[in-house]
Symmetry: C2
Subunit: 337 residues, 2 copies
DNA sequence: TTGTAAGCGTTATCAC
DNA sequence: GTGATAACGCTTACAA
């Protein structure tokens, strides 16, 4: 900037004014400075301006796992709202690793971003509470809040119940849940919902077979498929509720591959209703969540908190899930079975 | 930091030493300072340290479209290598929008990140050349480089040829390509490869029907499926090569939905071999790329450039694609057709 | 309308 | 081993 000033024959302050309050500076000087800027290829140093003037124009979305299309869809909503507020969004992918979450949160704290949105891998990380205490608002996305944050969620207990209600209505007796790790609130809640659905019809919730996985991935779904397909048909569940669509897709693929007919031998319900659920080998029944809206709302809450300052009241927004029925649970038609 | 110094009864410089060269400071003072740090919840200001000491410990990966699993898989490779080098990775999602790419590149320039990896939406953006000229190395990922960058790519011309070779071997005469926009080099190259395959067997490359799409998405694939399924069977292609798997999945879904049998009435080849290709309604034949490796190599090139400084010689690494044959082109077995 | 100068929170170079 | 102090590149009063 010093060079620009020299080149244009003005002072540092004037260059700064051209950059920040162009109306304050005479047209002639301004164009001289602008010429110098392009001639020298000057680019402002964001760290310096940030250091001087408080906050950055950046927001971060720390996601559990960017390989899951659910989160990239939520991220699309985040970006949309953030763009409208003229904030840039950095996506920080934890890839399911709590250490990475920790590192990102530390980094973002040091970076003094405007705010952080998180779908936590580890919701118990103390950093999640430290950040807002030190002035960086945090909004929890897809996970319930403590007293220190706003949150946007979809009711996962209801969602789990929706799925199992549907299977019970279809007359299924042996129902399994595939999902994990249960340290993820989403998974735990969906299983709770599944149990409550059984309970409501007078069945013992302990009847629910839980096949725990180490992650919500297609690969884990395949593994679960192997386990189930390996059971003698007498003992095998006739229906499976998967904690997300990736699991369901893997399970579906492996089940079909090992000769099971879906839904005839095995009905499958997924969760999230990602775009690929509909395009699957057997179109997947799934519990849909308003993904984009989740992201947009999260940003709205964040902006409200940034605007309000410390007297801000944290809010929890909860959306309702919806069951989308497709062939993976419907009675098989002639072309599908 | 001043507060920490006061609280611990030492000077600013000592606090800094505790933070950066703890061995230089007496154990007693050190623990006093550390106590003060945790007591006050002190977090270093990254902008300030960055301003003082040159460069950041951050790298950005600007992706064409994070909703495409291909890119999140590449990103996983990027993160892996970046983690190993103790660099944090920000993912910047352009969502296919060149304006967003422009905004991100501007922001990253101002932020003085260590380096930028890009799978460009708009490879002609002058910012891509300005950045390295001003000291921020840029590595092009999945796109060929000019003289100002390193690049890592997979040979898309060969990939396109691989796909069409396969269809020709299966005896297909009327072959279509679905893809777009052709402003994307990937798309253009794959189509070029497709044409060259026809040429090699003495066919007129102009025979290739090109169904242009506005993006590489499932939705666009569905639209293309409608167009194709609407044709009278006499004129309809018997095989389609899609420029990526998302298109292929959408096309597949809609074709099957409109009564076409895959591969009997319509054979489909995708590109990228994303995880969902295998789990599709009809498992998808696809051209596989070493996605993770692409990302890891990109970071390696970037680090080499950062290490070498201006006398660095730009490199272009090109990997080979591989055809993975599945049911969407194979002769239908009893269970699949 | 433009220039001057203080200060943002660090780090690094010195003396002490 | 520790404490002053001068940068780093910018913004913003305030003075000219």
């Amino acid at each position: 900037m010093k060079e620009v000033a020299a080149h244009a024959g003005v002072s540092l302050g004037t260059v700064s004014n051209v950059l920040n309050r162009p109306e304050r500076v005479a047209a002639a000087t301004r164009s001289r400075v602008e010429a110098a800027i392009t001639a020298l290829g000057f680019v402002r140093n964001e760290s310096a301006r940030h250091l001087r003037s408080g906050r950055s124009r950046t927001l971060a979305f720390v996601v559990l796992d960017a390989a899951n299309p659910f989160f990239t869809d939520v991220a699309a909503g985040v970006q949309r709202s953030a763009d409208a507020a003229d904030l840039a969004t950095y996506l920080c992918d934890c890839g399911g690793d709590p250490d990475r979450q920790a590192r990102y949160l530390d980094l973002l704290a040091e970076q003094r971003v405007q705010g952080v949105l998180v779908t936590p891998v580890d919701p118990t990380d103390p950093r999640l509470e430290q950040l807002p205490r030190r002035g960086t608002p945090v909004v929890l996305v897809d996970r319930g809040a403590g007293p220190t944050h706003c949150s946007v969620t979809v009711d996962d207990v209801t969602g789990g119940a929706l799925a199992v209600d549907h299977l019970l209505e279809l007359g299924h007796e042996r129902i399994a849940v595939v999902g994990g790790p249960t340290s993820l609130g989403q998974v735990a809640d969906r299983i709770t919902g599944a149990r409550s659905a059984l309970e409501r019809v007078g069945r013992d919730p302990a009847d629910l077979v839980v096949v725990e996985t180490t992650g919500l991935t297609v690969a884990e779904g395949r593994r679960a498929g192997d386990r189930l397909a390996g059971l003698p048909s007498r003992r095998r569940p006739t229906a499976v509720f998967c904690a997300n669509d990736l699991l369901a897709l893997g399970l579906l693929q492996r089940s079909v591959g090992r000769g099971l007919r879906v839904p005839h031998d095995l009905a499958i319900v997924g969760y999230d209703d990602i775009e690929f659920a509909e395009a699957a080998a057997v179109p997947l029944t799934s519990v849909a969540q308003p993904r984009e809206l989740l992201g947009r709302t999260a940003v709205d809450l964040l902006l409200a908190e940034v605007g309000a300052g410390p007297e801000h009241e944290h809010r929890r927004v909860v959306f309702a899930p919806e069951l989308v029925v497709r062939s993976s649970t419907a009675v098989p038609g002639p072309a599908t079975g």
